[in-house]
């Protein structure tokens, strides 16, 4: 094949790359058909068009510099924008090299151009999206992010003024928007306008959920209500695309404005589609962030509330003096979320009196007006209302009118005292809660929590929290009162026992002696038959009864001494073996009488410090118990000693003591079995334990239910 000039021309004319030849005076001398198609001009038109019309000003400068370097023989490849005849700017990749004649003189330069707009658009969009997300992730506002999206797009579509408008939650109107080059005054004009079927490009696009192209604002019916506004800013065309969430909900619109009447090209429609998708992602992202943030905030608030509640309960559980612990509550509340808080308590006449108040440092003036403060229980508002209605009351937003005291008017407070009301007003009360403290229908008082901080208005959830604290306070008061009542009852009982037993003792002593004497006299005399048969048995029954009675009174006396801490031990060094033996011997006849074997093993001559009478009392008590609960099985009494201690064990084979009763039986008025089965006051073991512990020793029980018990006394031999 012969390569001819005609063949070259054929190749050039059919090339898909644009070929553009510029001469040494920078005038276009040739473009091939592909170049002509790319620019939208005919080859002849291009030859007549100045380069400044074909390139953007900033690009032209670079181009001319590059053409200069061509003269020095330089070739290169670079990206450059070209303005098409329809004013659309396209990106091209240009491979350029110089042309020299045979004398090696520069005669021009040739450029081979490829349209890379599509790639460039994708790159720009990707960059823009990346920037948008960076801004959002760094915590920037949605407006900033959307502006970041708009800026490169405005460069991509020549002469375009972009805006992104956001719909409100109800989807009724645009409330916010981003725009870079659109005049602010124009934006203000369209924000807060309702969307609708004929509400300009954006309003209509949002309403119809479809792309709206208005190429001529002045003559389009969709713009009839807004065209004056638009024309006053020289806006002639407006295309708008709804931004849809993944669920298909309209989030906003992306609009492109032009100062000339214009239809979009396919290329521009693609941009609209891409930008809208990016905007949708950004808006959804920020909405999600907001949701997360509000969830976090809620969680934080919830945690704070929990902490407040826990602290309040801790305070309230701390002490049984409610006056003291209640003082902590307002302070605690103020530290969490109030400017001042106080508690009033009802006195015996039902008058609500101030107990305690706390304030922030800024609101400490409150303490001055609080000094003489008295709640007026006739008030239709505040705490009096809360107490009447038996529920917490929230005053979320107080206005000037709510402080009105003129004429018959009641301010929304628990008093209409003008000094107090004006003081509160001066402090800037905005919102408050009145929490009643009620227990079993009795109004104890109440808690007030007040806010004067700008923007802090209490809500129902705050009210619920305070309600909980109010309930805890009321419970604390109630518990204290119950405790005090119980204490008083115990004191009364002990006073009664003490007085009764002392008063009974003297006549009882004389009664017992008389009975003893009577018995003695009767033993030494003989009487008539009838007396012997009827009266003697009767009289001899009196003595054991009186003995029991005496014993009972002695026990009660011991108890009142113990309770009053007046049980003094008279400790002396003595032969404990001997005194224990004496006591066991004294009780032995009682065992014989009840046919209960008593096995005794006492180590001799164990000396130690003890109160003889008290120790004998313990022995007597333990043996009496063994006899009483031992089911007539043998009872074993053992006493052994070493250098350090003496151990006395009283073992029976009776009913035994369950493990949960093992501690209980040593408490006053306790018995392992019900009163019906066995008589007595249930004080013996308690007294015994007190006596043994007074000796520095211990007493405990080892037992298996149904098999018997061992009471073990250990005494130190000091």
């Amino acid at each position: 094949m012969e390569i001819t000039e005609g063949l070259f021309k054929q190749i050039i004319e059919n090339s898909l790359e644009g070929i553009w030849i510029i001469d040494d005076r920078n005038e276009s001398v040739y473009v091939n058909p592909a170049m002509s198609r790319m620019l939208g001009y005919s080859p002849d038109e291009i030859k007549k068009t100045d380069l400044s019309m074909l390139f953007k000003a900033e690009d032209l400068k670079t181009l001319l510099e590059k053409l200069e370097s061509r003269k020095r023989g330089q070739s290169e490849k670079h990206e450059i924008r070209v303005i098409r005849k329809d004013k659309v700017v396209i990106w091209t990749l240009a491979s350029c090299y110089p042309l020299f004649n045979q004398e090696e003189k520069y005669i021009g330069s040739v450029g081979l151009l490829i349209d890379i707009s599509k790639r460039k658009r994708s790159e720009t969009l990707l960059d823009a999206q990346r920037n948008v997300f960076e801004i959002l992730i760094r915590g920037g506002s949605l407006e900033d992010a959307l502006n970041e999206l708009l800026a490169p797009i405005e460069e991509l579509v020549d002469g375009m003024l972009g805006s992104i408008l956001l719909l409100d939650k109800e989807g009724k109107k645009f409330t916010k928007g981003a725009a870079i080059n659109l005049p602010d005054a124009y934006m203000e004009g369209i924000l807060n306008e309702p969307i609708g079927p004929e509400a300009g490009s954006c309003g209509t696009a949002a309403f119809k959920k479809e792309l709206v192209i208005v190429s001529d604002i002045e003559n389009d019916p969709l713009w009839k209500n807004y065209k004056e506004l638009a024309l006053s800013f020289d806006l002639r065309a407006s295309w708008s695309c709804p931004i849809l969430s993944r669920e298909g909900k309209v989030l906003g619109t992306f609009a492109l404005y032009f100062r000339n009447i214009r239809e979009p090209t396919v290329y521009e429609l693609q941009i609209v589609k891409d930008v809208t998708a990016a905007a949708a992602l950004s808006i959804e992202h920020i909405n999600m962030l907001h949701q997360q943030e509000s969830l976090l905030k809620k969680e934080k608030k919830f945690n704070q509330e929990l902490e407040l509640l826990a602290q309040a309960r801790k305070f309230l559980a701390n002490s049984l003096e409610y006056e003291k612990v209640l003082k902590n509550i307002p302070e605690l509340i103020v530290s969490h979320f109030a400017d001042w808080s106080y508690i009033t308590l009802s006195d015996e006449n039902g008058v609500l009196r101030a107990l305690t108040a706390a304030t922030t440092p800024e609101s400490k003036e409150f303490l001055k007006i609080f000094e003489d403060f008295k709640t007026d229980i006739t008030s239709p508002h505040g705490l009096p209302r809360a107490l009447r209605e038996g529920r917490s009351i929230l005053y979320a937003h107080l206005t000037e009118q709510d402080f009105n005291t003129e004429g018959e008017a009641w301010p929304k407070l628990g008093t209409r005292d003008t000094e107090y009301v004006s003081g509160i007003r001066k402090l800037g009360l905005r919102s408050y809660m009145a929490i009643p403290m009620i227990v079993r229908g009795e109004a104890l008082g109440g808690l007030i929590v007040a806010s004067s901080k700008e923007g802090r208005h209490y809500t129902q959830s705050d009210l619920a929290l305070m309600d909980e604290i109010g309930r805890s306070c009321a419970m604390a008061i109630d518990n204290t009162m119950l405790y005090r009542d119980a204490q008083q009852s115990i004191q009364n009982r002990e006073d009664f026992i003490s007085v009764a037993s002392h008063e009974l003792r003297t006549p009882l002593t004389s009664l017992q002696m008389r009975v003893d004497l009577l018995t003695r006299m009767m033993e030494k005399s003989e009487f008539c038959e009838e007396f012997e048969a009827k009266i003697r048995p009767l009289v001899s029954e009196i003595r054991p009864d009186v003995r029991k009675f005496t014993k009972l009174i002695e026990t009660l006396l011991d108890i009142s001494k113990l309770r009053a801490n007046k049980l003094h031990l008279n400790l002396q060094e003595m032969n404990i073996s001997k005194l224990v033996q004496e006591e066991v011997n004294r009780l032995k006849p009682e065992f014989d009488l009840q046919q209960t074997p008593l096995r005794i093993s006492i180590q001799e001559d164990l000396f130690g410090m003890c109160d003889q009478l008290r120790l004998q009392q313990v022995i007597s008590n333990l043996l009496a118990n063994a006899l009483k609960f031992g089911n007539k099985n043998p009872v074993e009494f053992e006493m052994i000693g070493n250098n350090e201690r003496i151990t006395i064990t009283v073992k029976d084979y009776g009913m035994g003591v369950s493990s949960e009763d093992k501690l209980r039986i040593f408490k006053p008025f306790e018995r392992a079995v019900s009163d019906k089965n066995f008589g007595g006051l249930g004080l013996g073991l308690y007294i015994s334990q007190q006596i043994i512990e007074g000796h520095g020793g211990t007493i405990l029980v080892e037992s298996t239910l149904g098999e018997g018990s061992s009471f073990i006394v250990e005494l130190p031999r000091r």
Binding site: S510, D516, R520, M521
Partner: protein, 118 residues
């Protein structure tokens, strides 16, 4: 008249009376005093072989009475049996026998019989 005299110093009239009955039944002659002071006043005109003494009494209590007795050479050897509920403090008193209230007559009479000095 037996010369087995016992002086009972006791403020409670009921107990005083029953002590008198019981001691007389045992064969003693009983002189009564309502408190330590009366007891001291009565001593010169009597000659008891034992004093039965309560501690808690008005005017002059048992501790003060014993203190006075021990100062007199002719009285200080008279045996004393103390009858009291106040075991702790009663132990501190100088006496021959301590009998715990509430009284058991047998115990009391045994103490008197054992300690009586002709």
């Amino acid at each position: 008249m037996s010369n087995k005299q016992v002086l009972v110093v006791e403020d409670d009239s009921n107990i005083r009376e029953v002590l008198k009955l019981a001691l007389e039944f045992e064969g003693y002659e009983v002189i009564l005093a309502k408190n330590g002071r009366e007891g001291l006043d009565i001593l010169p005109s009597s000659k008891p072989g034992l004093i039965l003494l309560d501690l808690m009494m008005p005017v002059m209590n048992g501790w003060e009475f014993v203190e006075e007795i021990k100062k007199h050479p002719e009285y200080k050897s008279i045996p004393i049996v103390v009858v009291s509920a106040y075991s702790e403090r009663a132990k501190a008193i100088e006496c021959n026998k301590f009998v715990q209230k509430p009284l058991e007559l047998d115990t009391l009479l045994k103490a008197v019989n054992e300690n009586f000095k002709e």
